[in-house]
Amino acid sequence: MATFFGEVLSVYSRAVEEDDDDLDDENEDERIHREIEEKREVHIVWCPEVAQSLEDSGSNTLQCSDLIIAVGTNAAGFLSAYVLNTESWDAVGHVSLWNERSRGSSRQSIAPLPGEPACLFYRHRDNPAVLVCQSTCYIAEDQLFQWTEKVFGCLQKRGLSVMVLSDSPVAEYKTPDYLYGSAVPFLRSLKSSASKGQALCPALEQPNILTGLPAAVLSHCQVHQIPAVLYQCYTDVISPDSITMETYKPALLCLSKLVKLEPCLSADVLRKFAIITEAQSNLYT
């Protein structure tokens, strides 16, 4: 077809059926999308006992009164040192997923190795309604919804209460005041509206926001009216560090009502969970 400006445009004729070629292309696109979706799917792998309990319950859910989620290496280290150290906890499952930053799980059924970034579930032996989840691997934005749906889908909503501990770099904390060195690390809290009772530290001020797994969990709890409280720890250290882990101590008050905790932790035990980068790093003297 000739146009006003002298160029020639090719025009698709509606008389001719060109669908056959297009169909193949679409199929290929669809196939690729489906493959990517399958690769990025989030799988929860429970241990045999828990899988059995899930089957035995009519609704495929576990009875859970308290879910404690630790997101980040310092939060996970705090739970390991103060809570999971008492040896009355069993590892009951893990989440396996793949994304560009967490390539671990081509082996879905095998549990992640200790020290690897992973998402692990623990249950207390004497009080099996208390579940702890330590998440140190990166969960991509498109996988967050699946993660929360699948994890909360396995838990009974009634009587459930959630606590989230999460790490964040202090560089992302927005405040008009200058932060003095001695103030860091510090805690801020956020609650769902179903959560009654006082949080143990000041609430997170505007315009600060949560992102990632803690945000997804809290949003889910808000939507489904589950009481949830989140403690965000702002720290200036990149690697797991014992001082940052100790900042979560106020949360012990709530936890001690549920389970027996390590009463007085020696600094050496904490340091075991902190990466000893000091000796190797010669950047600062």
């Binding site: 927005k174 405040t175 008009p176 200058y178 060195g181 001695s182 200036d236 000091e278 000796a279 190797q280 010669n282 950047l283 600062y284 003297t285």
Partner: protein, 245 residues
Amino acid sequence: MSMSYDRAITVFSPDGHLFQVEYAQEAVKKGSTAVGVRGKNVVVLGVEKKTVAKLQDDRTVRKICALDDNVFMAFAGLTADARIVVNRARVECQSHRLTVEDPVTVEYITRFISSIKQRYTQSSGRRPFGISSLIVGFDFDGTPHLYQTDPSGTYHAWKANAIGRSAKTVREFLEKNYKEEHMESDTDTIKLAIRALLEVVQSGGKNIELAIMKRDESMKILVQEEIEEYVTAIEKEKEENMNIF
């Protein structure tokens, strides 16, 4: 915090901050503690020794550096930045000697170091030096001095001061315990520096390195046994003070 004013060193924020310089102060806090005390006849620098890796030669991990026969300094912050500053200062000390046939005064070399640091806060494409330093020594007329510099290029004279990780705690201790009359005694001056460091150093005397300079003598780094002697004496005094009450 206005994040867009972080980027270029030469830009003031609307409220008058030079954020890069302030962030450089944070880098200083990542270095281990150093304390300096100026006595009447002796100047003392004490540092918290870093844990050295097993295979590392610990003679190459030095926080205290001699700049000339009459001046030495300790730093806290980025190791590499300190090396550059120390090298330039050492060259300047010798250049001064050759030009005017006199050793530098402590104030002169401190001003020189501070001018270098300030220049790096006012050039584009460069970042400030991430170190603070404590410079001590004697002028050729025998006056002792202690100066502190920081990444912005300011310097001040002090009777006693601390830099690095727990500087605030150590400085408060010094303010409480510094007594002018004790500074007449070399032992008491050295003990004040060690006591200040013991407030913040883990596992006591073996993580402390101390350097002293007496008038008309060169810098001396104390060996571990000498430090332990002082630490034992300090602990004894503490016990005696406890028993009085």
